[in-house]
Symmetry: C2
């Protein structure tokens, strides 16, 4: 099925896209930045950088550190982190609904392989 | 102002985003792939590659060659090329309308510089 991927550009520098949002969702589910990164096939360092970038864009932390464990211990989402996920997914649903007709029409213009 | 950039992923490989669409628009206005590339600060080779990729995704040419000139001569959009632009811009308008409220709310969660 054809689909649309989008990124949000706020007035601050940087953008929020499906990668950062999925990472936040994994952190919420797994309680760890390292585990969330592993679930997405990225290093702890890369996952941590993406979380820091998101925090910088919003000017407030999107995760909070929890005691215990090695490699940064546990992590949980802040209310802002939860809000970022919820708003992104709401926008995704609105975009899917708003573009479905045009997207289907555009896909119909793609030559199917057996048309030669 | 916050904004959204999006890419369309069709069932074929590759995606259509604002760069390819803007290039097609320039080709339509300037009548030349080379001139369109220059207008966007890209080499003729890069512009030509993007046109070829778009043609591959749709399985039909999005531009047509016109006689005369060096470096590929003139170029014009095919009806498909025109349709790709029109549908992308229609989706863009639909997405802007559908996400405005959430986008404004998300922007409000960004700390303004003077909040310390």
């Amino acid at each position: 099925m054809p689909s649309i991927r989008f990124r949000i550009y706020l007035d601050s520098e940087g953008h929020i896209g499906p990668g950062k949002v999925e990472l936040l969702e994994h952190i919420g589910q797994l309680g760890s930045i390292a585990a969330a990164g592993r679930a997405m096939g990225m290093s702890y360092r890369r996952a941590w950088e993406l979380v820091e970038e998101t925090t910088r864009i919003f000017g407030h932390p999107v995760t909070t550190r929890q005691a215990g464990g090695r490699q940064g211990g546990g992590a949980a989402l802040t209310p802002l982190g939860e809000a970022v996920i919820a708003r992104f997914r709401a926008m995704e649903a609105a975009i899917t609904a708003a573009t479905q007709e045009e997207l289907t029409a555009l896909q119909a213009e793609v030559k199917s392989p057996d048309q030669g």
